[in-house]
Amino acid sequence: MADDKSHPPDRTSGVTRRGLIKGIATAVTAASAGATALLVETRHELEAANPSGPMPVSIAVNGVARTGSFEPRTTLAEALRDSWGLTGTKVGCDRGACGACTVLLDGLAVNSCLMLVHDADGRKVTTVEGLGSPEAMAPIQKAFVEADALQCGFCTPGMVVSCAGLLAKNPSPSAYDVKEAVAGNLCRCGTYTGVFAACEAAAQGKPEVTRG
């Protein structure tokens, strides 16, 4: 799958941290494959006896149909990251306060940590990976790079998605509109001026960014 372009492999070693962890997990799972097969056989019985068991879901994520079976308590953020590998969406506070988990639901910015995955069933979700890739960045992503609109980068995917949501609705926002659009995205490094500059530059289609 080419969906995790935000984490290109480490070219010096050919091993990614995430890949290594996944590899270990696979090895552990393989050791208990017999037990897993047994579980699958009795899954339907278990589901009937356990109404809070996994329920199916189907969501168009970045234009690709994603399906899965999740416990009712699963959030959209957890499904995106843990099941579908779309780790561009970050989980910071996990309470809707920081905005790192922002995705577009049918074009509107929402906190994926405060949404149950089954609530997104049948709808369209866009994550930061769906806006563009390192090789073919969306204008807003390019503007973030050019404005140097990040320091540690943890808030950046949420900031980018909030700005993309704004620009889709309002192609020429005022400075006030930009500040309002990212009012739910916290940056502990304080890179807001860069974010504002990037969003305004992307709105105007300017190649050069003036840092405010």
């Binding site: 809070s52 308590r73 639901l105 929402v110 906190n111 909030s162 500040k179």
Partner: protein, 335 residues
């Protein structure tokens, strides 16, 4: 959060029946709109229901309707964003209250009914470490504790402030809140929907277990003027320290049927009746607005750490009155 059974009704009646059935069988159940507040409480283990009954995916009570006499009905599932953008001209007080709430991401998901039914943000209530009066404890811990964000009116029993800004606007607008329950629904005046701790310490509204808000109705008033203003520490994404909604009818150049409601100041949206009486029948100007702001403090009982709120309440009432009359209120530069 603890896992739960997701109940996906096909209609509002089915949802109400599912909640009633759960109660009857001794299961705990919660109704969920967007779930922005519910998920917060589930993750904090403030709640651990056996069932969550989903309303979000229901196909009715999710739009704004206008009737032939100019009245407006807002479905329970309409988001705060949709209220803010859809009712700016009709109901500026409600639109501004919704527009200023929380963050864009939350406003795009959170529903108006969910906003009205939020539980208090009091840190003693929210923390599992404290057993406050609302959770069956023996006293309100805020009254003698950390109460800088708590009530300055009506705080004798429990010092929460009601968390809904939309509720402040709806009480000022004299809106009606319609509910659904298996035995039949009810319609409340917004002011009667919110209940003081002396009436029910365990709830902030008059809903019975399993009863659901389905619509919010606002009648058309000839010559109506309304505004909502708030004072907060940050310009964005902050709970108000004081907020107010003002509604009146312009008749012959003077204000009639004046309703002034203060928020973030009491366990319910708080009518400032002395201020209303002062403004009734007069033309609103800067001097009258300032006097009304002072009058709004009548009956205040500040706690150890929140007397600083009183000048804010006076200021926000003054500003909101001025804004409702189309006069400069001093907040223009921030908008």
């Amino acid at each position: 959060m603890k896992n739960f059974e997701r109940v996906q009704p096909r209609s509002w009646d089915e949802a109400a029946s599912a909640l009633a059935a759960a109660l009857k069988s001794g299961k705990s159940a919660e109704a969920k709109g967007a779930g922005t507040e519910l998920l917060d409480r589930l993750k904090e283990y403030n709640l651990a229901p056996d069932q969550v009954v989903d309303l979000r995916r229901l196909s009715s009570h999710n739009s704004i309707l206008r009737n032939s006499s100019g009245g407006i009905s807002i479905g329970a599932l309409v988001t705060l964003s949709a209220v803010a953008s859809g009712l700016r001209k009709d109901l500026p007080a409600l639109a501004d209250a919704c527009e200023g709430a929380a963050t864009p991401q939350i406003r795009n998901a959170a529903t108006l009914a969910g906003n009205l039914c939020q539980r208090p943000r009091c840190w003693y209530f929210r923390s599992s470490e404290f057993q406050c009066l609302k959770k069956g404890g023996v006293e309100c811990l805020a009254k003698s504790g950390e109460n800088e964000f708590h009530a300055v009116f009506g705080n004798n029993t429990c010092a929460i402030v009601h968390p809904s800004a939309a509720g402040v606007a709806l009480v000022a607008l004299n809106a009606r809140i319609e509910t659904l329950a298996p035995g039949g629904g009810r319609t409340f005046a917004a002011a009667d929907f919110f209940v003081r701790p002396e009436v029910d310490i365990f709830a902030e509204n008059a809903l019975k277990p399993g009863e659901l808000v389905v619509d919010i109705h606002v009648d058309r008033l000839e010559g109506v003027r309304s505004a909502y203003r708030k004072i907060k520490q940050k310009q964005a994404f902050d709970w108000p320290l004081a907020d107010a909604a003002v509604v009146w009818r312009e008749t012959g150049g003077v204000a009639r049927d004046v309703r002034i409601v203060i928020g973030s100041a009491a366990p319910v949206p708080w009518r400032a009746k002395a201020a209303e009486a002062l403004v009734e029948g007069k033309r609103i100007d800067a001097a009258l607005a300032a006097k009304a702001g002072e009058a709004a403090l009548e009956g205040a009982t500040p706690l150890g750490k929140n007397a600083y709120k009183l000048p804010m309440v006076a200021a926000v009432v003054r500003r909101t009155l001025l804004a409702s009359a189309g006069l400069p209120d001093g907040t223009e530069e921030h908008r």
